[in-house]
Symmetry: C2
Subunit: 589 residues, 2 copies
C-alpha cells in the first residue's frame, strides 16, 4: 500500500506550461535552466522519491520519533536525545550527498542554484513520498534565504556552506505557549553581550526538527526580544542560535545550551520530531543577531511566503498520494454489481468515480496553480514588475489555504473509497488523513490566510491586483466560450467573475471589518475554486492539439466536471460573502 510514482506526464506538462507562460524562456538568467534540464532533474528526483523516501513513509508513521532522557547528572548535550525512525539517517545522508538540499540555493555556497520552477515539482515529489521526513528541506531552503537576505557576510560564510551541504540542519523557533499565530506576544529574551553577541533565554514549542540524530549541529533561527525592545510585534529580533557554537572558521565548537525538553505526540507526521526547546537553561546560550534589531518579523515574512508556497504544495502532494492509492484500490476491489448484474470493481460505481475525479481534477488544478506561482517568483526575481509581485502576493494565501483545505477533504475521500479497510491503520491511507490535518494550521491557519487575502491583498490595494486577475480569468473564459465542450464551464467562470466584481465595490472594499472577516474563509474558498477552474481551462487551451487524444479528452472532461461539481460551490460561497455575516454577530455564546 501507499506506493508513490511521480505523476510524470502531468508534471512535465505543467512545468513546461508555467515556464513558457511566465516567459522564462525569454529571460537570460534562465538560459542554463531550460526544460531539458528540468526534466532531467525531475527524472532523478522521481527515482529517489519512489525508491528511497516512499518506502520509509509508513515506517516513520508507525515508529515515530523517540525522546530519550539521558543522564540528568551530566549537564551536557548528552542529557537528552531525539531518535528518528529506522532508516531515516541513512536516507538523510543519501539525500544530502545527492545535493538535493542545495537544489535551489546559490552555487557560491555549494548549491545548484536551480530556479523555483524546477524545485517546485521536485519538492512536490518529496512531500508525496514522505512528508514527515522531508520537512528539514523547506527549513534549509527558507532559513538559507533569510541568511542570504539579512545576515552579515561573516554569518553567511560560517553557516551557509554547512546548511547547503546538509552537514547541519535548520530549525525555526518562533512559537511559544502563549504566542502562536500572534508572535507579538513572545517573551524569549536576548541580552546583549560586550562582544556583540546575545545571551538567549526562553522556551519555544512546536519546533520542527528542533532536535534529532540526523546531523551533529542544528542552526536555530530564534525570535526573541532585547531588553529595550518595544512591546508587541515591533520589538522582535531574529537570532541565529546553533546547538553547538560555531567557530570563526565555521567549525563546530562547544555545546551552546540548547536543550530539547520533549517531543510532541501528534496526530500525524509522526516521523517529524516536533520539539520543545529550552534556550539558555544554564545561561550559556549565545546567539547572533540577523539583520537589524526589532526587524525580526520582517525577516520572518520572507520565510513565511516561502513556507506558505511549500505548505500549499503539501496539499497537492498529499492529494496526489491519496489519489494514487484510492485509484489503485478502486480498480482492484470488487464489490457490488452494475446494471447488468455483473460484479464490478468499485471504480465502476458512479459515486466512487465521482470521488476519484474530484481528487484528480482538484490535484491537477492546484498543481498547475502552484507551478505557476513558482515560475512567477522566478520571473519576479529577475524583472522589476510590481504587478507581478502583487499577483504573487494575492495568489499565495489562496494557494496555501485552499490547497491544504482541499487536501483534508481529499484525504477523507481516500478513506471513504477504501471503506472499512481505510479505517484500518495498516492499510496506510489513514496516515494521509492524519498527516494532512496540520497543513491548514501551520504556516498560518486558513483563517489567517483569509484575513491576509481580504485585508492586505484585496483591500490593501483597493482591489487592483484582484481586478487584474479577474480580467485575465475572464478573458480566457471568453475565448473558449464558443467551444461547445467547454462553454458551460466557461459561462460559469464568467458568472463567478461578475459576482466577485460586483461584490468588490458592494461589500469587500467598504464593509465594516468584523462582518467581513466572518465571511473571509468563504471568500477565499470562492477564489480558490475559481483559480482551479481557471487553471484547468488554461491546461486545455495550452494543450491545443499537440497531445494524444486520450489525455486531451480527459482534460476536457475535467473542465466539464469541475464546472458541474465544483464551480457551483464558488457561487454559494459568494452568496455567503454577500450576506455580510447575517446571524453571526447576533449570536451570543
Amino acid at each position: 500500500m501507499m506506493t508513490y510514482q511521480a505523476p510524470y506526464q502531468d508534471m512535465q506538462r505543467l512545468v513546461a506550461q508555467a515556464y513558457k507562460q511566465q516567459g522564462l524562456d525569454t529571460l537570460a538568467p534562465f538560459d542554463d535552466f531550460d526544460l531539458e534540464l528540468a526534466n532531467a532533474v525531475m527524472e532523478e528526483a522521481a527515482k529517489f522519491a519512489s525508491g528511497v523516501l516512499a518506502p520509509l513513509n509508513q515506517v516513520g508513521d508507525v515508529q515515530g520519533c523517540r525522546f530519550e532522557e539521558g543522564n540528568a547528572q551530566k549537564d551536557d548535550d548528552q542529557k537528552t536525545k531525539v531518535i528518528t525512525p529506522a532508516g531515516w539517517k541513512s536516507a538523510y545522508q543519501q539525500f544530502a550527498a545527492s545535493g538535493w538540499i542545495g537544489l535551489a540555493l546559490p552555487e557560491a555556497f555549494g548549491g545548484q542554484g536551480l530556479p523555483k520552477y524546477i524545485a517546485q515539482p521536485v519538492n512536490e515529489m518529496w512531500q508525496s513520498a514522505n512528508l514527515a521526513f522531508v520537512m528539514f528541506q523547506a527549513l534549509a531552503q527558507g532559513g538559507s534565504e533569510i541568511l542570504l537576505k539579512f545576515a552579515s557576510e561573516s554569518l553567511q560564510a560560517r553557516y551557509l556552506p554547512n546548511i547547503v551541504s546538509g552537514e547541519w540542519t535548520v530549525a525555526m523557533a518562533l512559537t511559544e505557549p502563549s504566542a502562536g499565530s500572534d508572535l507579538g506576544a513572545l517573551t524569549t529574551k536576548a541580552i546583549p553581550q560586550d562582544d556583540g553577541t546575545y545571551q538567549i533565554k526562553g522556551q519555544k514549542i512546536f519546533i520542527t526538527y528542533g532536535d534529532h540524530d540526523l546531523t551533529e549541529n542544528i542552526a536555530h533561527l530564534v525570535l526573541a526580544r532585547t531588553p529595550d525592545a518595544p512591546a508587541g510585534s515591533r520589538g522582535i529580533s531574529l537570532f541565529i542560535v546553533p546547538k553547538y557554537r560555531v567557530n570563526p572558521d565555521g567549525s563546530m565548537g562547544k555545546f551552546n545550551d540548547v536543550r530539547c525538553t520533549g517531543i510532541e505526540h501528534k496526530m500525524g507526521l509522526h516521523g517529524s520530531p516536533t520539539c520543545s526547546i529550552s534556550y539558555g537553561e544554564q545561561d550559556a546560550c549565545i546567539g547572533e543577531l540577523i539583520g537589524e534589531r526589532n526587524q525580526g518579523l520582517m525577516a520572518m515574512f520572507v520565510l513565511m511566503n516561502e513556507a506558505r508556497l511549500s505548505c500549499g504544495l503539501q496539499g497537492v502532494a498529499l492529494g496526489e498520494l491519496g489519489y494514487q492509492s484510492a485509484l489503485e484500490y478502486a480498480k482492484e476491489r470488487t464489490q457490488g454489481s452494475n446494471g447488468k448484474g455483473e460484479r464490478v470493481a468499485i471504480i465502476e460505481h458512479p459515486d466512487v468515480k465521482r470521488m476519484l475525479l474530484d481528487m484528480r481534477s482538484e490535484t491537477f488544478a492546484l498543481r498547475s496553480l502552484g507551478y505557476q506561482i513558482a515560475a512567477q517568483i522566478d520571473r519576479a526575481d529577475t524583472t522589476n514588475d510590481n504587478a507581478l509581485q502583487a499577483r504573487i502576493a494575492l495568489l499565495t494565501p489562496i494557494f496555501k489555504a485552499f490547497s491544504t483545505e482541499r487536501a483534508n477533504v481529499m484525504a477523507g475521500q481516500v478513506v471513504q473509497v477504501f471503506g472499512g479497510m481505510g479505517f484500518i491503520e495498516e492499510t496506510g491511507v489513514a496516515q494521509i488523513m492524519r498527516d494532512a490535518r496540520i497543513t491548514t494550521i501551520y504556516e498560518g491557519t486558513t483563517g489567517i490566510q483569509a484575513r491576509d487575502l481580504l485585508m492586505r491583498k484585496v483591500r490593501g490595494d483597493q482591489g487592483l491586483a484582484l481586478k487584474a486577475l479577474l480580467c485575465e480569468i475572464d478573458d480566457q473564459a471568453a475565448k473558449v466560450e464558443a467551444n461547445s465542450a467547454l462553454s458551460k464551464t466557461a459561462e460559469e467562470i464568467r458568472l463567478v467573475v461578475v459576482t466577485i466584481r460586483s461584490l468588490l465595490d458592494k461589500a469587500l472594499l467598504g464593509q465594516e471589518e468584523d462582518s467581513l472577516l466572518g465571511v473571509s474563509v468563504p471568500f477565499l474558498d470562492a477564489m480558490g475554486t475559481l483559480c482551479c477552474a481557471w487553471q484547468l481551462m488554461n491546461a486545455v487551451v495550452l494543450a491545443g492539439d499537440d497531445i494524444d487524444d486520450g489525455y486531451y479528452q480527459n482534460l476536457i472532461a475535467m473542465v466539464q466536471f469541475y464546472g458541474a461539481f465544483r464551480l457551483p460551490t464558488a457561487k454559494a460561497a459568494l452568496q455567503t460573502v454577500e450576506s455580510k455575516s447575517l446571524g453571526l454577530q447576533e449570536y451570543v455564546f
Copy 2:
C-alpha cells in the same frame, strides 16, 4: 479536556417538540411515557454519561483493546482473548445494573419498554460521552429487535432475558473479506443437522464487540448460506451462534467453537474491539436459524434501519462533543487582538466564531431531525400510517449520511479551532476526528445511503414521499416569510424547494441511472441541508414567545446564519444534480 455535559436545555426542548409534534401525547400507549418521565430519565442518563463514561473516553483511545494469544496447544476457548481498556468492565457492569441496556426493550424480558423518543437523547449522551465503549448498546437493541420480530418463542426465551439484562452481549457477523457493502457475496456455510440446528463454518471480519472480556457469553447473529441456497443476496439466512452454547433452560453450556483470530488496529474507536471471528474451526460450532431460510437479509433490514438511525445520532453526538470542547477552548485561549488592539480570546475572532456557530447550528438542527424521526417511529408503531412510514424511510438515509458527513467536517473544525494544540494527541480532540471517520462508512456508506435515497425512496414511489416532505417544508417557510428576521432564510428555503420540485420531473424520475448516481451524494447533501434549515425554522416557530429572550434570539440568529452560510450550498449541490454528471462519464481512468 474532553469533558462532556449533556446539552440539557436543547435536549429537553427538542424532545418535547418532537413528542408533541408527532402527537404522542394523544396516543394511549404513551400515557405512561410522558415528558415528565422523559426528563427524569434524561437527568439520570446525563449523570451517568458525564460521571462514568466520559472519563473513560480518552483512556479507551490511548489504551485500546489488546488481543492476547493464549496457549495454542489447548484447543479450547482460552486460546485467545480480547482485553478491553482499564475501567471498561466496571463501567459495563454499572451500565447493565442500572438497566440502561433494556431501556427501550420489552418489559416482558426485563426491559423498561421506553419509547424511542426517550431512548434517542439518552443514546446521544452515551455516544457523546464514550462512543467506543457504548457500541454494545446499539447491538443489544438491534439484535433484540430482530429476535423479537423473527425468532421462535423458544429462542426468545433462552436469549432475550440475558441480553436485556446485559448478562450477555450481541455481535453482528455480516462482513467477510470479499463481502462488505455487497452482502450477497458472502460464503460462510450453515449445514443442517438432524436435530434442526446448523453447523456453522466460516470467517467473518469487522465484528464489533465480537469478542471481549465484559461478559461470559456473546450471542452472534451470523449471516450464512445453507447448501441448497440460491446465489447472491436471495440465498442468505440468519443464525444465532453463541460463543458458549445455550441450554434449553437458558443457562450456558460448553464452548461453541467461536474463536476470535485477531482485532483490528484502527484509526479511531480504539476502545471498541473490532474482531475477526472464525466459526467452526474444529467443526463444533452450532447455530440456530432465525426466521425462515434465505430470508436473512430481510431480518437484517430491520436492524439496518435501527442501525442507521443510531449511526446518524453518532454524528450529532460527536458534533456536540466537539462543539463543547471547541467552545470552551475558544473562550479561554487568548491570541491576537481586536480592532482596538486589545488581546482577546479567540472566540472574538469572527472566523473562529463562524466555525463555532457552524457546529452549533448544524448539531442543533441534526439533533432535532433525529429526535423527530425517533418520535415518528414511535407513532408509526402504534398507528397504521403508510405516509408516515414513507416519511421515515425517506428521512433515514438522509439523516444517517448527512449527519455523519457533517460530523467529519465539524470534527475537522474542532481541531482547527484548537490550532496547533489540536494536532497534539493529549489535547483529546484529534480523537473525535479519528473516531468520527468510520461513521460515514459503517452501516452503509454515504454513497449507499444516497443510492437508497434516490433509487428506492424517491424513484421507488415516483417522488410521492419527497413531494409531501417538500410541501410541509414549504408551508412552514411560507408562514414565517413575513417575519423580517426570518424572511431571508425562509425565502432561501422556498427557493430550494422550488428547485428540487423542478428537478424531480426534469431529472430525478426520468434520468438514466448511471448519470443520476453520479450526483446522488450532492442530492443527498442538498436534502440534508434543507432538512436542517427546516428543523431550525421549526424550533423558532414552536418556541413562540414562551422562552427567555436570550435563547429565542439565539435561535433566530441560528436560522439567519444557516440561511446565509449553509443553504447556499444546497443550491450549489442542486445545480450539480442538474448537470447530469457532466464530464464524469467521459473521463477515462
